[in-house]
Symmetry: C2
Subunit: 299 residues, 2 copies
Amino acid sequence: MSILVVGSIALDTVETPHGKVKDALGGSALYFSAVASLFNPVNMVGVVGADFNLQSIDFLKKRSVNLDGLEQMGGETFRWGGRYHEDINLRDTLFTELNVFQDFRPTIPEHYQNDAFIFLANIDPELQLEVLAQLKKPRLVVLDTMNFWISGKPEALNRLISKIDVLIVNNEEIQQLTGKANIFAGAEELLQRGPQAIVIKKGEHGAVLNDPNGYFLAPAFPVSRVVDPTGAGDSFAGGFLGYLSTCPEINHEQLRKAVVYGSVAASFTVEDFSLNRLERLSKSDIDERVENYRNMICF
Amino acid sequence: MSILVVGSIALDTVETPHGKVKDALGGSALYFSAVASLFNPVNMVGVVGADFNLQSIDFLKKRSVNLDGLEQMGGETFRWGGRYHEDINLRDTLFTELNVFQDFRPTIPEHYQNDAFIFLANIDPELQLEVLAQLKKPRLVVLDTMNFWISGKPEALNRLISKIDVLIVNNEEIQQLTGKANIFAGAEELLQRGPQAIVIKKGEHGAVLNDPNGYFLAPAFPVSRVVDPTGAGDSFAGGFLGYLSTCPEINHEQLRKAVVYGSVAASFTVEDFSLNRLERLSKSDIDERVENYRNMICF
């Protein structure tokens, strides 16, 4: 079952207490694909500039990531720069250069249009709606967004939320979306707006799943040396949707396990800069950590 | 097996987005006792002023809390005032009036000196050392402290940490104690200083247990209406030590379960102001929520 991702491809310049990288691979589509492709083939839709070295993502092709939907345009690739504090949960954005990403209008290649498992990574919700309209038989649509769109395009975003299956948000986003300071109260409200399930990402504090069957509380896998948190959320989505794409049926139990796969995927990502850890990650690494994780939450 | 607690008894004036109480019951010894006494008899050592209405804690006596160690002095009871923000994790201390608590020198009554399960609630570590010296056969000593003592009396505190069994800290305290921003790295270091186990309280994000057998990750029980977080930490300690006092043997599995009992106890406390929810709490309420909780973390 192919997985489709529509999102950003970026060159990130990141500084953390553990070092610095310049123009390193980044962007939601790359983080997502690097993980999800360990479960099933991934079709990627995105845009890069003329300066982007396609060989740098050869490892994705080896993992059955199809790049027919990757457009290379004249101009420069989307660039993001950020600096993380000693408290690694805090970061400053130093610059955002949209470049070719500014005019990104995702076109879904015909041989992607039957994909079943869809990740709408964080882009303009109007574009995300256009993507949805091009799909013929999506089975599970997972949506990510950000504060910029919640305040800037609330109407398009709400329309979109009513059409998707799983909404992934972080604690600030859920507060902004619902006006509720309490994330559980916020999750209950969001469930009324259409999605089958809400997943709240809390970074180092783990994740919470809420669906009509109740809550699943997933602490983050302990990482004693967080080198670079960039991409953790998109890696989470990659593990989450990657796992679900292997399930004959999707029910509450599968959603729980998907959250665990997402959490574990994210825990690898943060161990190194950029996609470095994911590049040398295997499915069995993930499976092994899932079992370690299970042992840390039983009682 | 009797449980001993040495801590504060306070009259709290608290304002939260859900309302306000003035001169309401508070203090570590009361929160702890209200919970721990649902598991086993509790002996309490503390001090109140002439203005304290002893009848207000009659419900504790009915739960086998022995008050022989509660000294009533001339003068006023310790008072604390605080205001919680819309984001209930943030609070401002409005006033702290130590009053009779200022000169508190805990004396352990002779019939308490054989108690096995000891909670040294947050007071001056030099006094906590004096308490320890008065005990004849402690089986498990649990220590709480705060930022004020970590910076103000580091030497006494470190001596104390080398003598106790379980150290309970929150995320800021562990960073302050160890100089490490990462709580897992901090917990590893603290384990080297003597305790058998470290418990990190993360408020709404749950708790983490670390001992030589590894980690146990406990998300917080979801509470969709947090009325007043005051006392959650001491209630946690009450559930934690209360549960352990019922165990013939204390091993890693029991410590895990104790963390769950602590988390669940705290989840009740925050549902109402002061000790209001705890006053009408039963052991079976706790047991039932522990089972609900188990269902929220399995996968």
